[in-house]
Amino acid sequence: MRAPDGPPVTAGDVLLSIDNVSLSFGGVKAVSGVSFDIRKGEIRAIIGPNGAGKTSMLNIINGFYHPQEGVITFKGEARARMRPHDAADGGIARTFQNVALFRGMTALDNIMAGRTLKMRRNMFWQMLRIGPALAEEVEHRHRVEEIIDFLKIQEIRRTPVSRLPYGLQKRVELGRALAMEPELLLLDEPMAGMNIEEKEDMSRFILDVNDHYGTTIALIEHDMGVVMDLSDRVVVLDHGIKIADGTPNEVKSNQAVIDAYLGVAH
């Protein structure tokens, strides 16, 4: 069933490779024997019908689920099992399908929280909040303000995120992930629940992140327009099995994909 890998679309080494990974919950096989890779600097889309195992795949990549079988190699290092914060340490950031912002905090604090890993001052200094601790706080605030400017969310900085409409929440979530300065950014349906205009904005952000920071992106999305336009390569899952892998155009015309997912040719 393994579709031949297409010709290298984007130059770059393999950043992450998934090798024959399987994951099941009790009787439910969420992912079975899936292999694919993500190359440095590309936008890699993962698509498939509902319940195909896409989110589970992301959860495996950043260590939230531990697959029963298979090996994941990230930056040349093979690993079977790791804690989520190790993945974060290694440079994997993500957004979530059901927005997982810190609901009690403001947008600014949410994004600042993304900088946690980069902040070094210990509790004692933070308690006093003078000298180096304050300097560090200010320095990171600068970085965060850059992200806020970039995402055009200046007005809502101080709004508790629970009061924000869905679309803005998604944007703050992207900001939070960006604040981690990740090498690999996992986006789980970043545009669900947005209208075209907002999707265009979001697409712009994703492309910019990809261009400017050279961040590698793995993207789950159900809007085929977005997937086709943005991604370099697409992997298609169905029932936990990989049914296709290739450029958007290849995938679009793949009969298995049409049957399982698209319904009609797009």
Partner: protein, 309 residues
């Protein structure tokens, strides 16, 4: 043989004592399972039910009614009091707090506790009122095999039987009936439950009423054991470890938790207490609960805590 007899005796009395805690714990489970509210007021409700029962009973007996008639009327009266309480709680406290998070609701039940404790004592008095519904002497079993026999309190056995009946009834109610399903739905998501047309007001009234009746049952047993008085509210603290071990959401869990806590704490007091100083029952029950939670964070029978992202 003596040692084994003692062990058996402590074990049996522990198990039975545990089941009596379960009677109180059941009230917690009911409300938690049905509305996701940790009802701090359960102990106060036992007090209220007990006071209503014993005071009206005394009154009726003083009026010269035959004892059985007085009991029936007093039980009815206490049930009505619990119904009124349920209605007021729903109407004035929980109703306006729909869709708030668990902690807020928990806090509001603390407010309710204060009101019930104050109100109950104001209406019915804050003295101690003896209640005698169940025999409080004991059987001595197997006197042939063990010197002195194995002591079993009759009231504990009564309590155990009542608890068993309640558990079977309530478990069936939750799993098999439409209302039971609705109750569980409410516990998961208030807003969604409302959106499918479940009336939270009605559900909450029902569940507080049932919890009130369970409190009344607990009050008959515990009132006989202790006399009806304020200290009955402290039973809530004894019921908590039972609750966690069984799991907040499981009716049968309340019984199993009770058995474990009862047996555990009594055995610990009897065999560990002498070495480290006695009076260890209270914390032992909680430490036991902690150990169980480390193995199963949702208690033995509680619903799995859903962790997804």
């Amino acid at each position: 043989m003596i040692a084994f007899g003692q062990f058996l005796e402590v074990l049996v009395s522990g198990l039975l004592a545990g089941v009596l805690y379960s009677l109180v714990a059941l009230g917690f489970v009911l409300i938690f399972k049905a509305s996701g509210v940790f009802n701090f007021a359960q102990g106060a409700m036992v007090l209220l039910a007990g006071l209503a029962l014993v005071r009206s009973l005394d009154f009726m007996v003083a009026k010269g009614l035959p004892f059985w008639a007085a009991i029936v009327i007093a039980l009815l009266f206490a049930a009505v009091v619990m119904a009124i309480t349920a209605w007021m709680v729903e109407r004035f406290v929980l109703g306006p707090l729909i869709n708030q998070d668990g902690l807020t609701l928990f806090m509001s039940t603390i407010g309710v506790t204060f009101m019930i404790e104050g109100g109950a004592q104001m209406l019915f008095g804050s003295d101690v009122y003896p209640l005698r519904l169940f025999p409080s002497d004991a059987w001595f079993l197997f006197e042939g095999s063990f010197p002195g026999g194995i002591l079993v309190s009759k009231i504990d056995v009564w309590g155990g039987l009542i608890a068993a009946v309640l558990v079977v009834g309530l478990a069936l109610f939750f799993q098999k009936t439409k209302t039971g399903r609705a109750l569980r739905a409410v516990a998961d998501d208030h807003a969604a439950a409302q959106s499918v047309g479940i009336s939270l007001n009605w559900i909450w009234f029902i569940v507080w009423l049932v919890a009130g009746l369970v409190a009344l049952v607990a009050a008959t047993v515990w009132g006989t054991k202790l006399g009806v008085q304020f200290s009955i509210t402290f039973l809530a603290l004894k019921a908590l470890p039972v609750l966690i071990i069984g799991g907040f959401t499981s009716v049968p869990g309340a019984i199993v938790g009770g058995l474990i806590v009862g047996a555990g704490e009594k055995l610990a007091e009897a065999y560990l207490g002498p070495f480290i100083g006695g009076g260890i029952e209270y914390w032992f029950a909680y430490v036991l609960a902690l150990v169980v939670l480390m193995a199963r964070p949702q208690g033995l029978f509680g619903e799995r805590i859903i962790e997804r992202i």
